[in-house]
């Protein structure tokens, strides 16, 4: 059974159409990597799945929650919350809460949106911090952590609300090169555990290794879609070839 079904998704900012009808299906336990030139709409797609942007039209269904968007009609807030709680988002710039410790960051969603008792939330948060290798930094504030450590807390925080799906929006783009590896390692382990994930990234080597399926988005449409060997090895579309040669060329 498909865990995520996206049909005819569009997003327009004023006059500019950023997404022009995206269809997407993802099975439980599989990893989808989205690649494409900057400004192609891949981050917008991810943000639409988390309803941080309200799509202009189309439907999104994740697990047993779903919304049909139609331009102008108001979406019910309860439906938005329901859909949002199906996925955990990891941001490019981490967006940790600076006034909370690492532990509090990972407890926050559990306490407020899942209404979990504090002790239980703390236990679960400690387990998640251990998973990303940061149990010893639980009491540190974000500004006391390196970029890589902050992003690992970000990953633990995204998992804290027990989402069906994890969304990664260029999780390593803001990091110094030597810190990229520790973050990719955590994401790779999550993939091996069979987590369902959608990753937007520019790390092609990583994409190839971790993805079950890759889609290339350009100018708001899916240009090509397939398993990594095919997409990187023998791309069908001219635009895919151009994009890959440009990004591998340097």
């Amino acid at each position: 059974m498909a865990m995520i079904e996206v049909r005819g998704l569009t997003k327009t900012f004023g006059e500019v159409a950023v997404l022009k009808g995206i269809d997407l299906t993802l099975e439980r336990g599989s990893v989808l990597v989205i690649i494409g030139p900057s400004g192609s709409g891949k981050s917008t797609l991810l943000r639409c799945l988390n309803v941080l942007e309200t799509p202009s039209s189309g439907t999104i269904a994740i697990g047993n929650a779903g919304i049909a968007f139609a331009g102008g009609t108001r979406v019910r807030q309860a439906d938005v919350l329901q859909l949002r709680r199906q996925s955990g988002m990891v941001f490019q710039a981490y967006h940790l809460f600076p006034h909370m410790t690492a532990l509090q960051n990972v407890m926050e969603g559990q306490i407020t949106s899942l209404r979990r008792p504090k002790e239980e939330a703390r236990e679960r948060a400690m387990r998640l911090l251990a998973k990303v290798g940061l149990e010893t930094r639980a009491d540190s504030y974000p500004h006391q952590l390196s970029g890589g450590q902050q992003q690992r807390v970000g990953i633990a925080r995204a998992m804290s609300i027990d989402p069906q799906l994890l969304l990664f929006d260029e999780p390593t783009s803001a990091l110094d090169p030597e810190l990229v590896r520790e973050v990719l390692k955590v994401i790779r382990e999550l993939a091996q555990e069979g987590r369902t994930m959608i990753v937007v990234t520019h790390e092609m080597k990583f994409a190839r290794e971790v993805a079950d399926r890759i889609i290339l988005i350009d100018e708001g449409v899916i240009v090509e879609e397939g398993p990594p060997e095919q997409l990187f090895g023998s791309p069908k579309q001219e635009r895919t070839r151009q994009f890959l040669s440009r990004i591998m060329g340097d």
């Binding site: 941001f91 809460f97 969603g109 949106s113 974000p142």
Partner: protein, 225 residues
């Protein structure tokens, strides 16, 4: 010591306790009550203006416009001397509290509004992505950070308020300054007594500045980008 300086010293020491008492019994409570109520009003006003609810945000804007555009002393006179002609009689102390509260509410709302706007959008998004409602995000993520940003400018307002409460003398509240006037009337030593009054204001403000620094240090435990 000459007779004259001895007399001045005598007046100084005799008036110190009555002046300090007027400060502690009226200036300080007037300041604290008005500031706390004013902050609540400021928060509500700021949130209403940010909410874009048509009629309410129009009222909030109108209120800030009136208060910021007219002198505080005129507002106090309208409340204390003007309203009775409409049948609304308010005692001197509550009238002063109302006047100062409205003032703190208007100026404070601009500070709080600016502080809320200054918190990066990503903080709202991170809160939403955890499934928080708008109210939860505001209360748990945005306001604590905005509070930290607003401590220095709000402390300024607070210290200004301590001094502005001397205007309550004009609506018959016998606070620190009014007490000074009374003593001058009895002793004919304006230079000495008003300097003494100034000294007591200075002491009150210095104590407050120390508390402010403590509060800022408390908030420095985390960094806001």
């Amino acid at each position: 010591m000459s007779d004259h300086s001895e007399r001045l010293w005598q007046i100084f020491t005799d008036s110190f306790l009555p002046l300090l008492h007027a400060g502690v019994a009226f200036t300080v409570p007037l300041t604290l009550i008005s500031f706390v109520l004013g902050l609540l009003l400021a928060l509500v006003t700021a949130l209403v203006r940010l909410s874009d609810i048509p009629v309410l945000s129009w009222i909030a804007r109108f209120y800030v416009w009136i208060i910021r555009g007219t002198p505080l002393i005129v507002q106090l006179f309208i409340i204390f001397y003007g309203l009775p002609s409409l049948g609304i009689l308010i005692n001197a102390f509550p009238a002063a509290v109302i006047g100062f509260t409205l003032s703190v509410g208007a100026y404070g709302s601009e500070i709080i509004r600016a502080a809320i706007i200054s918190i990066p959008r990503g903080q709202w998004e991170a809160a939403y992505s955890l499934g928080q409602t708008r109210l939860q995000a505001l209360r748990r993520i945005i306001l604590p950070q905005a509070a930290r940003v607003s401590v220095p400018p709000l402390s300024n307002s607070f210290i200004s308020l301590v001094k502005d409460t001397s205007l309550a003398a004009t609506v018959t509240v016998i606070e620190l300054f009014a007490k000074g006037q009374q003593i001058v009337a009895a002793t004919y030593e304006p230079m000495l007594i008003y300097c003494e009054v100034a000294l007591i204001y200075l002491i009150l403000c210095t104590v407050l500045a120390v508390l402010q620094r403590r509060l800022e240090r408390y908030y420095e435990r985390f960094d806001v980008r």
